[in-house]
Symmetry: C2
Subunit: 367 residues, 2 copies
């Protein structure tokens, strides 16, 4: 079966590597000539809205998916008119706009921070009155890794925030003083079957995910997260893998955002789960039965941001699995990750203390 992927970053690359053993073939479309998936699969270089190239990809493929949620919805709809396209364009459209996303959460009784749309300075002032401070002003579209956000702590922050972000559709969300951040990965097949991975605890720095730990053994929250994920998957008639990020406050989940694709907080599943998120996404969109989402022992995933620690140092740490994406180093760029897997959390923690300094952290950080 031929699988086309719109986007050729590390997620597409890991999809291809997970899919080859299933007998799948891949082609990816990416604007960058050096898109890292091009090292492991044929690359069609071109813009995401190049109609001729999209047609070429859809013509070759039996199913098309994407590794990047900011591809134009019109492009997605064009492909979906020609060949099976998953996750559905509606899910893509919803996730691209924080307002649609939050509104959907709200409709499905999934708790979210309070929110209000902001299209002018006056609306921002109104929104602050309704949402209360502290709050976070965000662009409704194209935000990722903490980009396109400003925290408003006092009314003096209103004017500068508007100046920094105004001019595009915005949303003001109440700031959640969270105790922790978690995420859940759910996957749904063409026939409606679903499966859910163990709840993951995430640690961000400067808006970028740095460390994920799974399973995180919060059974009540895990059950709650699976319930919310199921509501979203069913409502969107979803096919493929969906990630949802939550804040935890007072022991309850508050949905922050969703990503209609494989997700950084699921990279641990390559070694740490019976079936990886990448394989299960491909199984789902190809109409194959889902694989077990059960964790195998305890895993910690560490992102490599900007540049890569030296291979020998990383691999010298027992039970460390290194994933290098084949991308040029660049400040703030995700260029690789490492997953520590072990049968008991104590050993994993010991090894983690050796890995953390390799990515610029204190051994006791995230302790």
């Amino acid at each position: 079966m031929n699988v086309g992927i719109v986007g050729g970053g590390q997620l597409a690359r890991m999809l291809a590597l997970a899919g080859y053993p299933l007998g799948l073939r891949f082609q990816v479309l990416d604007p960058a000539a050096d898109a890292c998936t091009g090292q492991v699969a044929p690359l069609i270089q071109g813009d995401y809205d190049d109609v001729a190239l999209l047609e070429r990809l859809a013509d070759w493929a039996e199913v098309v998916t994407f590794d990047f949620e900011n591809i134009p919805v019109a492009a997605a709809q064009a492909i979906a008119g020609q060949v099976a396209f998953y996750p559905p364009a509606e899910a893509l459209a919803t996730a691209q706009d924080r307002l649609s996303e939050k509104t959907l959460f709200w409709e499905l009784d999934i708790p979210t921070p309070n929110f209000a749309t902001v299209d002018s300075l006056d609306e921002l002032k109104d929104a602050v009155a309704r949402v209360n401070l502290p709050a976070v002003l965000k662009t409704r579209r194209l935000g990722y890794d903490g980009k396109g956000q400003r925290v408003l702590r006092t009314s003096e922050d209103i004017q500068p925030s508007w100046q920094a972000l105004g001019g595009v559709p915005l949303i003001l969300e109440s700031f959640v003083p969270f105790e922790r951040e978690v995420s859940v990965l759910g996957v749904r097949c063409r026939d409606g079957a679903t499966a859910f991975y163990p709840l993951v605890e995430n640690h961000h720095r400067d808006g970028i995910l740095r460390l994920s730990r799974a399973p995180c053994f919060m059974p009540d929250l895990e059950r709650e997260s699976w319930d919310y994920a199921r509501r979203l998957l069913d409502r969107l008639n979803y096919v493929g893998l969906l990630a949802i990020e939550f804040f935890v406050k007072n022991g309850r989940l508050i949905a922050n955002e969703m990503a209609p694709r494989v997700h950084n907080s699921g990279h641990w599943t390559i070694e740490g789960a019976e079936t990886s998120q990448f394989e299960n996404h491909l199984r789902a969109i190809s109409g194959l039965p889902l694989g077990s989402t059960r964790a195998i022992g305890h895993s910690v995933m560490l992102n490599c941001i900007g540049d890569l620690p030296e291979r020998t140092a990383v691999l010298a740490v027992p039970n460390t699995h290194y994933h290098i994406y084949g991308k040029a180093p660049r400040l703030g760029r995700k260029v690789g990750h490492m997953t520590l897997r072990g049968d008991d959390p104590g050993t994993v923690s010991d090894h983690l203390r050796r890995l953390l300094p390799l990515v610029g952290f204190d051994p006791d950080e995230f302790g």
Copy 2:
């Protein structure tokens, strides 16, 4: 780091898929335009003894390895004169000739069947007198999957066996009425560090491996196999992964043959061990630290011979991992494998009963 592979079959394919996450790049040389590794890495199509192509591969690569032990030793030596080539050409030469191989086992005090060389009908008669019947007459070179072999049970088999195989260098080996067949995988680094995988129990049909089970929990035999493997690795100044197949008779190991490469009886390590044989081979030849060879639970690997069972049926069996090689179906050809992994042997056995009929066996076979 650029890795060249001479041979582009399923072993090279699985090497490439294991190596991409480590940031390695691959090119393979294979005579077949449709060599299945060509689906996942650039393929140089040409003969194994094409000097210009070998030079081109060696020029591009920082290290060259092989997935096929019958490549010409002269080609191996030519590459080794130009770039790092592992496993060493001497190991390749030894494994290509059953006489050299058995002689080395004998020198290292590794038990083997009795054997004698045979280059004429008279020598075959002498050999039968020394080795005794039953015995197996084998071509010294180019045998695999039971090809190039004849069993002699009575003196009446001497003449027809000679007629079937004579004309090339032969070896007569005493027939071992074994209780079981096992194999061990050892890996050795450039710096001499070694690691060994749990002992594997193998089941063949018509000379072709059909099922491997690991770990097989025979601690005395495992220790013995590691000891023999270490002797071979050290003596050959080996770098990379080495497989040794043994008969078990009266609770002792008798070495049958070795393969200086990743091995079919190690495919279970992809899901069933902390680090796969493919990754550890690449770590060894690239000068990286070895990964843990520990088993994770219990695994059974089943080969798909000739053609592939339908994907949906295979993946519907819980905890089954399917590996499709991208090869055209052909009688007797290895076109894929499946690995069942689980935390307890009982569950694995239950699932195995569902998989066996998909590859033409009775559910109780190999019970």
